[in-house]
Symmetry: C2
Subunit: 252 residues, 2 copies
DNA sequence: AAAATAACTTGATCCGTATCAAGAACTTCT
DNA sequence: AGAAGTTCTTGATACGGATCAAGTTATTTT
């Protein structure tokens, strides 16, 4: 998108305090002065285009990154040349937390569309957090939240059917778009069916068939990347294994 | 809980600096004085017995816990009454990191055998870490490492065959026992086949059949919980999908 | 605008693993 | 020690989703 006027970006002050995403990337607990200080270490580079890597597995780790617009896929290459998609990230989301562990990125991140990010040099963030208890607290929570999310994903991959996986996936986007002030029921997915399948541990064909079936069942309308959820409550039922469980024995 | 000979335990000085596990739970970077200070906030309670909960999902979170002996299973209950086993934890391993996020435990932890733990009150740890940059650094790394481990598990559940899953599982224990000074090839598993299956996203029967098959193929000898790995290199081959991939095209 | 390529869909078939079932080995209780 | 309950193993069968194959619709290149 922002192809030409690159230079202007370098000059933009980040100003987290005015950023609509700050409630997402700095959830509660920081005073305005804190934000000011944090602001001072954040760098905003020029935007990435579809297919550009933000970093690759093995790259030296220096910064955490907050997506400010666009979307990003993280993945880790596996033995046999394939990859495991680890996540899709929307504006306000922080990536790179897995790399703190040994100063190297363990996975790769690639822009799914034109994408802008704020870079937060980690060593500076660390220093700052050691003189700002509230920031330190935020960081611990953020890291812990990431663990919790991975944990949910383990349950999804370990126990859920293809149908439940796709419903979970769609509702996750629905909720995240809603949080960001967009429609919870009408949105565009920036990734391919193949990437969705990879993420959910399913074959492309299965994903495609499920979209068709969900549409036949009037749960949604889909046309390529454009998805309209028509029956969100029923999608939630599916997530909870509505058909698998014996009827009306909601939890024993 | 603390029924009879409570007093004696309360008086035991934890003395991380003499603890053989300290390289595991405090991996590098802390000076002896640092360790002394950390030591001062750590509490050691009386041991748990098989089946005792260390905490349950929903419990108020106050402490991280390091296993000092025995073993622990963490799991999260899911919608339909079942559970997803999240991990098996050996001496030197830290649990509870997922609970920082909202001051409540999101999953449960149960002793698989007689188990002792050190409790580290998190609020004190947090205060300490804000005046001890090296401790703060350790904490960030520890949290990040946990994320990295979850990520590997996602690949396992998303892409690997039953065979690869069990081989990965066995080698993980092999490596961890070895790190702790025990045999890498001869050990006891403290969990049931059912729990292994749950953890790996497999049915009990599949786990049982795989043990039998691995034994037939002379990869190991197994008798109930007692496992002897007879061909570790071949197990590593299996982990990497040795048979699935086209022969000798190790990575394109 | 046509050609080439990539992404997606749909159908047919196959396979790995779940599920069902029953017996064996072990553990716990009385 | 015997009974009762678990846990584990093994076999038979079923099924969900993968794979193979081919056609369709977008997108990119020329």
């Amino acid at each position: 998108m922002t192809s030409r006027k690159v230079v202007s970006f370098e000059n933009i002050k980040v100003a987290c305090k005015n950023c609509s995403l700050s409630t997402l990337c700095l959830p509660m607990g920081l005073t305005p002065e804190d934000v000011e200080r944090l602001d001072s270490i954040i760098k905003r580079g020029r935007p990435y285009h579809r297919g550009d890597h933000l970093y690759r597995g093995g790259d030296k780790f220096h910064s955490l990154r907050v997506i400010t617009s666009g979307s990003v896929k993280t993945y880790s290459p596996n033995e046999d040349g394939g990859e495991q998609v680890l996540g899709f990230h929307l504006p306000g989301e922080l990536i790179g937390l897995d790399a703190i562990q040994d100063d190297n990125h363990t996975c790769s991140a690639i822009a799914l569309e034109t994408t802008a990010v704020c870079e937060i040099p980690f060593s500076q963030l660390e220093s700052l957090s050691s003189i700002m208890p509230s920031l330190q607290h935020q960081m611990y929570r953020l890291l812990s939240r990431e663990i919790g999310q991975d944990t949910e994903m383990l349950t999804l991959l370990g126990k859920k059917s293809a149908e439940e996986r796709l419903a979970t996936f769609l509702l996750s986007f629905s909720e995240r778009f809603k949080q960001r002030g967009f429609s919870a029921s009408d949105f565009f997915l920036s990734m391919s069916r193949h990437e969705i399948g990879n993420y959910l541990g399913l074959a492309v064909e299965t994903v495609s068939r499920l979209f068709t079936r969900f549409q036949d069942e009037k749960l949604l309308h889909v046309e390529r990347k454009h998805v309209q959820l028509l029956d969100i409550p029923r999608l939630y039922d599916i997530v909870q294994g509505a058909d698998r469980a014996k009827p009306s024995q909601s939890r024993i």
